[in-house]
Subunit: 410 residues, 2 copies
């Protein structure tokens, strides 16, 4: 990581002039340790390079989209082949039908698919379909969960949103069925939105209790609301069939994006037949939604993930990484919480309520060639081989040592 | 155009099973003449091919995105080169800064740029910035104008939207300042959204009266609201500097998408310094918003458009096409209205209130190798050379003849 003024610093100065705040949204480096880069140049397999040429083992995977490793040759070839034919045309290509068929085959709850571009498109489309099907207005959202930037799912205090944006949102507590029962008591419920695990920013990851998932399913069945699973962050990392399939709980609607085409822009809403008519009656569209090249990329991604047992590979890599982190922290006398499925790991330090230690540690990781985040869950990919994990663990060990030397042990 | 059961029919049957209604949104073939294809295979310059191998001179340009012709070699090379380096990474690439600088230089009202993916992202981001900057809630929208699928801009009757989605939208009539004055009288106005020309579906295109544009600017200045120009459909076809620059009226915020990267997925909100702080304080993001390859494509598109005077080329081609259509209709004894800037032409038949004649004529155009739309404006591109226009005019002449033979003259 560069400490002299380099390309990243020069670009930040230029960006400050022509981009509000120099950068916006989740990729803004203000959310990262101070020495982290803002601008990136390239990626290859499990590694990325910033604009100053610093190399990192990548544990953010572009915040989820990179599933099989950066620039996976099979996916890139499929995308390039489709671009050479046609991408954005006057209507969809055959790839749209092929991809819808693959997803309907692969995801047991799904009878149909609609494609869009952003994760926010997919979750908001899900709510619109639920409202269209039920004729009701309200949506339940777990307090602290992120479902994109639709006004309905933002915090009521979010700047630039209005009181009216939040009038139909009712909050519940994740893994707390009593709070859900209280939230549905007001009636008029079109949908309950839920993430497969609790992966809120600024907290340890928490699995979904199977009885909570089953309880949500039962409540939706009882009141005739849509169970909308937001699988945008976990999707294709936990289970090809959807992240609640291991729990045996099937949603009515599920929102997918990020990893679907290994970095190429695509999102999807999947649904069951009970919501087909509601879906058919809405008007939803976008200029690039039917682009063929990300759909060709998704077909290649899904085939490659299945044939190579990519989820198994990233789970094994994540288990090694999580075990290594626990051992290292313990050896350095530091108390940490390593949480999350191995494919979406995260680490916090005990008592580190302001995340100052996590930020310092992540900064040391960066200095030692490991890119991970102090307050947001990380992402493993199928390209994280033993060599990448070994190299990363060397960096994290150095980082724990630096923290120990700076702060002392626990 | 195929009349036997071909690939398109087979794909429609498969889509009917796995896509609600077989297709959704503006590309749904139900909005087109019955013999039109749903699925497309490829494009090259000013021509497209459907999945049954039928070739058309393309006057929809993928509903706007294709500005320089399909698969423009310079743009495709820039995109491929960027994909080979890095596209969706842990942060933006240098392309983001370069593109923001180019747009700020090119568009006089703009001091900054934010990038996103859908046109709806850009218009909704504009409203969010306006609300953040003004602390107000309401937005003015011209009745019948399309600004994407955000609930705020949809018709209050739109399926799956709620009463609350529309509470902060106040409608005015395009080109009618008195209706704007009436609409702002209620106060709490954050923004006035407006398209550069009136290009509503199902009606002749109508230029913006210069005094209307100046009047909107004066009202926004008086009440301290943002003037938000939705340049998604006209942008880069009318004027490189923004579609109201010829009128000498500068908006505070402008929304761009479609043509920005010649078919690659990108949208942008541009704004002036009065709204920079408001923009800086919102949270807006998407997984693919910082993708570098469409930004590389946009840099190439803007350079190519400028260096080749692409707007001049499409204007001249459109003038020839519009003049040819008028002459042909007259020669066949048919009364038509050919409207719109030459770069975004449109044709209706006099007295054809249900668009039955327009639909039949567009269907005959399709049969004769010309793809255009019966109820939505068309799009010219810089690749529409004399040969393409000559060929198209042969097809439209045959189509007028068929309509005349079927219906008789006016």
């Amino acid at each position: 990581m560069s400490t002299v003024v380099g390309t990243d610093q020069a670009l930040r100065a230029r960006a400050a002039r022509v981009v509000p705040g120099g950068m916006y949204g989740h990729m803004n480096a203000v959310f990262m340790p101070p020495n982290f880069p803002q601008f990136f140049a390239r990626g290859e397999g499990p590694r990325v390079w910033d604009v100053d040429g610093n190399e990192y083992v990548d544990f953010m995977c572009s915040w989820g989209p990179i599933l099989l490793g950066h620039r996976h040759p099979v996916v890139e070839e499929a995308v390039a082949g489709q671009l050479a034919e046609g991408d954005v045309l006057n209507g969809p290509s055959a790839r749209m039908v092929e991809l819808a068929e693959v997803l309907v085959d692969q995801v047991p709850h799904a009878d149909w698919a609609m494609f869009c571009k952003n994760g926010t498109d997919a979750t908001t489309l899900g709510l619109t379909v639920a409202r269209s099907a039920t004729g009701r207005r309200k949506v339940l959202v777990a307090r602290g969960s992120y479902h994109g930037i639709g006004g309905w799912s933002m915090a009521p205090t979010a700047r630039g949103t209005t009181e009216e944006d939040h009038l139909n949102t009712v909050f519940y507590e994740y893994n707390d069925l009593a709070s859900v029962e209280a939230a549905v008591a007001g009636g008029d419920i079109a949908a309950i939105a839920v993430t497969p695990i609790r992966h809120d920013v600024y907290r340890d990851l928490e699995p979904c209790a199977p009885e909570f998932a089953r309880g949500l399913r039962a409540i939706c069945d009882r009141i005739g609301a849509a169970l909308l699973l937001d699988d945008i962050r976990c999707g294709l990392r936990v289970d090809m069939a959807g992240s609640w399939e291991p729990l045996g709980v099937r949603p009515d609607l599920s929102a997918w994006s990020k990893s679907l085409a290994n970095g190429h822009p695509l999102a999807a809403l999947l649904g069951n037949d009970a919501f087909r008519d509601g879906a058919q009656k809405i008007f939803a569209t976008g200029s690039f939604w039917m682009a063929a090249s990300p759909m060709a990329g998704a077909l290649a991604t899904l085939r490659e993930l299945r044939e190579s047992d990519g989820i198994g590979a990233m789970r094994r890599a994540g288990e090694r990484f999580q075990a290594g982190l626990r051992e290292q922290a313990s050896a350095h006398g530091l108390v940490v919480n390593v949480t999350g499925p191995p494919q979406l790991p995260f680490l916090t330090f005990a008592g580190d309520t302001d995340f100052a230690r996590a930020t310092a540690w992540a900064g040391e990781c960066g200095r030692n060639g490991v890119y991970l985040h102090p307050t947001h869950n990380w992402f493993l990919g199928a390209a994280h081989d033993d060599e990448a994990i070994d190299r990363a663990l060397q960096g994290t060990d150095e980082a724990f040592r630096a923290i120990r030397e700076r702060d002392g042990g626990d």
